[in-house]
Symmetry: D2
């Protein structure tokens, strides 16, 4: 199996079959073992502050965690000796977020939001990623750092 | 105005009028300037991992951020010289999460979840809170630490 | 070999043979796989702010990291099937801090400082500890959270 | 007074008169309100692991905290209406680290270490900086994120 194809299947699965990602409208638009991109559109239900009409901090954290998580998933797949659907599913079952730090820089305003992640530490057991959230105008809304169990 | 009454009004407002809190079913069940409690029930739409049927990490982060945020709000109100609806609204408009760390300890399984927060640093500009998430059986699911702008 | 004896030997080794712990005067006064205690005395060379005469934030972080690290070391030893000096040394060589968060609550003033740690997540690969720093009067100076590689 | 000159004086003061920075050999080699650079040479007394001969995690945290702290100090000075020695000293007395996260990426080996910081959030009360630690070969040893009280 081709790795690029595997990544496409995981992106489709996580975008369409993870209830909470669907609820928030989070779409995985790109990912490999180095970096990822998640996009989602503004929706009134994501409001965390009715006076200011800005994203709830939990929406920001959710998008950053997903962006880091998919890069960590790709790190797991890169390390497989043998690539089969069973082996992939078994390996991905080990994936989990250990800790996540979110730094909120600006109010979460915009029409579309783009979360990106890149890996900063990659090992057989633990991966660490740094994430960013911008809106469609390029305003930098948040930073994140996530530590993931990968083995 | 009585502070206990103000806290009840804020709890009602944030539970019923914040779209994202409603979407997740987060209810503020108790809060003052020292500690708070948020409760929410399991719902399938909160699932972050379809194989394991556990809460999305972003749900956990959202509940912890709200728990810390309401304690920080109470810290703001405690510091007011004069208590009027206008003054309260104006002061609360300064409230914001600066950063949030979530430590995931166990898979998010359960029928009901309880997030609690207590203040560990309280000042005129910044407050810091530590949070915990348990399920109805007392299983400890996550820890959090949040830094909030309060003035 | 008795585990209590092993802990005593590690405490002696890390207190006396780790140059930076000696430089700061950090002493491991108690530890097992659940909790630990580190003590150190005020010294002028630990000052981080000459006007205010308070501990440098890096001293606080160093003490908290050591407190968490020794609990993580005990977690490693608890999981060994076979206990021999070689096996212990080999296993401890895997120990490393992945990330550390320090929350500074009050200025670091006092005559003696006590850092304590307790484990909040313990696994075969990663352990997470929460730490606190107090002075001899019981003033709470800092909180910490550390994620450690243990396997 | 010229701001560049003020920065030079602060760099000299913090390098030469802060006991703990001197103990570790931390030198402020560049800073303004956007970015900073701290350098220090390997010394055996900075060892945190006698078997592996690598920096103690607390040394890394100390260097990152200083790098972020000096950028935060420059943020304070940038916001002054009036620049006088008294006013500068009074304003800088408000500077303090609220929280610091350190992510350890690689063992701390090298002959010289370079910590850099850049501001990611700048306000009248709180500033947030991201930091990095490299050695003289460009190996990336650690990341940091610090939240500072500035007003």
């Amino acid at each position: 199996m081709d790795k690029e194809l595997i990544y496409q299947q995981i992106a489709a699965l996580w975008t369409e079959n993870m209830p909470f990602n669907q609820l928030l409208g989070l779409k995985i638009t790109r990912f490999n073992s180095n970096e990822s991109e998640i996009r989602f559109a503004w929706q009134d239900k994501l409001i965390g502050n009715p006076l200011q009409k800005i994203l709830h901090g939990g929406v920001t954290a959710s998008a950053l965690d997903l962006a880091g998580g998919v890069v960590a998933a790709a790190c797991i797949i890169e390390q497989l000796d043998e690539i089969s659907p069973d082996k992939i599913q078994q390996s991905l079952s080990k994936l989990g977020t250990i800790d996540l730090r979110t730094d909120f820089l600006r109010p979460g305003r915009g029409e579309e939001f783009i979360a990106t992640a890149r890996i900063i530490r990659s090992g057989s057991k633990v991966a660490v990623a740094r994430m960013e959230l911008h809106n469609e105008l390029g305003d930098h809304i948040a930073f994140g750092t996530g530590t993931y169990m990968v083995g």
